[in-house]
């Protein structure tokens, strides 16, 4: 992990192509809730995962406010994010993107959920997880043929988010180089 020693390392080696592949993985999981894909190419300082780092580099720039939650908010991570994306660091309430563990990201009510005329003006949370698995909560709705399954950190909280539809937050779940997603449109039932 020598690459993590400096904020200048850990970027894409070929930005346009790496970002294109990364976006396709991100788009695929957002379009198919419950699906797990590999997402790699970028490396951020510990404790941020490769998948989360790759999402940040693919989606963030000076136009997007990023909130680093809890343990992910280190001087090294701040420098890395600023150097590679130019994204302004903001509070949770202003964030377009937030990254951290589930408990570090709480409380959810802090984040933007969009407005009735612009539901897209909402936060996307990148939730760092120990592992991703297609077990646990049962998902249905757009992107899902019949049902799919995904281990979610907190079913009632995420059900409450989907009740806000078409407002609400959208989630990526990351672990190592794996990614899954949960848009606000997904209906969630206990396993």
């Amino acid at each position: 992990m020598q690459a993590q020693a400096t904020q200048f390392a850990g970027g894409f080696s070929n930005t346009p192509v790496d970002a294109a592949h990364a976006f396709r993985a991100a788009m695929t999981v957002m379009a198919r809730p419950g699906e797990i894909r590999t997402l790699s190419g970028a490396q951020a300082p510990v404790p941020v995962s490769g998948a989360a780092a790759t999402l940040l580099l693919t989606l963030c720039d000076p136009e997007t406010g990023v909130y680093l939650a809890g343990a992910s908010d280190t001087p090294e991570m701040r420098q890395w994010l600023t150097f590679h994306t130019g994204a302004p660091l903001v509070d949770a309430a202003q964030a377009d993107f937030a990254v951290g563990t589930w408990t570090d990201l709480l409380p959810l009510k802090t984040y933007r959920i969009g407005t009735s005329e612009y539901p897209d003006r909402s936060a996307t949370l990148i939730v760092e997880c120990h592992a991703l698995a297609q077990t646990g909560a049962t998902l249905s709705g757009p992107g899902i043929k019949n049902t799919s399954q995904l281990n979610l950190p907190d079913i009632p909280a995420l059900q409450a988010n989907s009740m806000l539809y078409p407002l609400g937050m959208d989630f990526f779940f990351t672990s190592g180089t794996q990614v899954a997603a949960l848009p606000r449109s997904t209906q969630i039932a206990k396993g």
């Binding site: 379009a31 997007t64 009735s116 897209d120 043929k145 078409p166």
Partner: protein, 286 residues
């Protein structure tokens, strides 16, 4: 690092479009505003679709472009060449081999798979525009699900003018929430909007992106006394004999002779290659 921008657009523009696509997928049928860029082609050539394709393509893709079902129009050929040159993608005319298909005004006849993406060129993304010219008002109507007037107007059109008035761009309700314009596809294609592929819609001039994830509920608006019918010319294809494909009517001569042929040229070609024969034979079969 690179001398040119991959897929023409700079990285910041692609990121902005990619963020819009993700929000569009999260709220199916909702029109996400985006800052449309100038593209090296006129607006009528589907710059919205081109920008969505540019933000979505990877060098591993096999790209297909259809213009009203045909791969060989000037528009389709130009866009295909554009991405062949700027993104280094492989190109194809065969629907089954394509991983990303950009389309103007048709959905391919062949059923698309979950490994495919369909990108629509959209001229007018707002299905309520004919009722209300002001964007602030249509946005409010969508936010309040104020679709009553839309239903009334659609009912009037159908009851007074029959099928003709509503043969294209027939509005749909997406996942019981947003009324959406499916772009000027024939209503024959509407039932195919519920599919396994990811559908992305780009309107360049109007600066809107919207999306329909796989298996999303898409219902064509209709009425008890005028149920939705995915109509087509009541005729088989004169070249390949297909009874279930959308047909173009072609005038053959001054005497008024005409023929009906599949609008989806790859579908027709592959059927003829497989030995299917229509009324006018197989003379120019592939």
């Amino acid at each position: 690092m690179t001398e040119y921008n991959f897929a023409y657009l700079d990285e910041q523009t692609k990121r902005m479009i990619r963020r819009a696509i993700l929000k569009g997928l999260a709220v199916p049928g909702y029109q996400v505003p985006f800052a449309s860029r100038e593209m090296p082609m006129p607006y009528g050539w589907g710059t919205g679709g081109v920008q969505v394709s540019a933000a979505t393509l990877t060098p591993d893709d096999t790209f297909k472009v259809i213009d009203q079902g045909a791969d060989d129009t000037t528009n389709a050929v130009s866009i295909r060449k554009f991405f062949e040159n700027t993104a280094g993608v492989a190109v194809t005319e065969e629907t089954e081999k394509a991983t990303l298909i950009q389309t103007r005004h048709r959905i391919p006849e062949a059923e698309l798979t979950e490994d495919q993406i369909l990108v629509y060129q959209v001229p007018i993304p707002e299905p309520l525009r004919f009722l209300e010219p002001r964007e602030t008002e249509t946005r409010k109507m969508h936010s309040l699900e104020e679709y009553g007037l839309m239903h009334v107007k659609l009912y009037e059109d159908i009851s007074q003018h029959g099928d003709i008035a509503t043969a294209y761009a027939y509005p749909v309700m997406v996942q019981d929430r947003y009324v959406m314009d499916p772009s000027p596809i024939p209503k024959f294609d509407n039932p195919k909007l519920e599919m396994s592929a990811i559908q992305l819609f780009g309107a360049g001039r109007e600066q809107r992106i919207y999306a329909v994830p796989p298996h999303t509920k898409v219902v064509s608006l209709d009425f008890e006394d005028f149920p939705f019918v995915a109509s087509k010319a009541n005729h088989p294809c004169d070249l390949c004999g297909a009874e279930d494909s959308y047909l173009d009517e072609v005038i053959l001569d001054d005497a008024g002779n005409r023929m009906f042929v599949c609008s989806d040229t790859d579908f027709c070609r592959s059927r003829r290659a497989a030995g299917h024969v229509g009324r006018l034979g197989t003379e120019d079969a592939a």
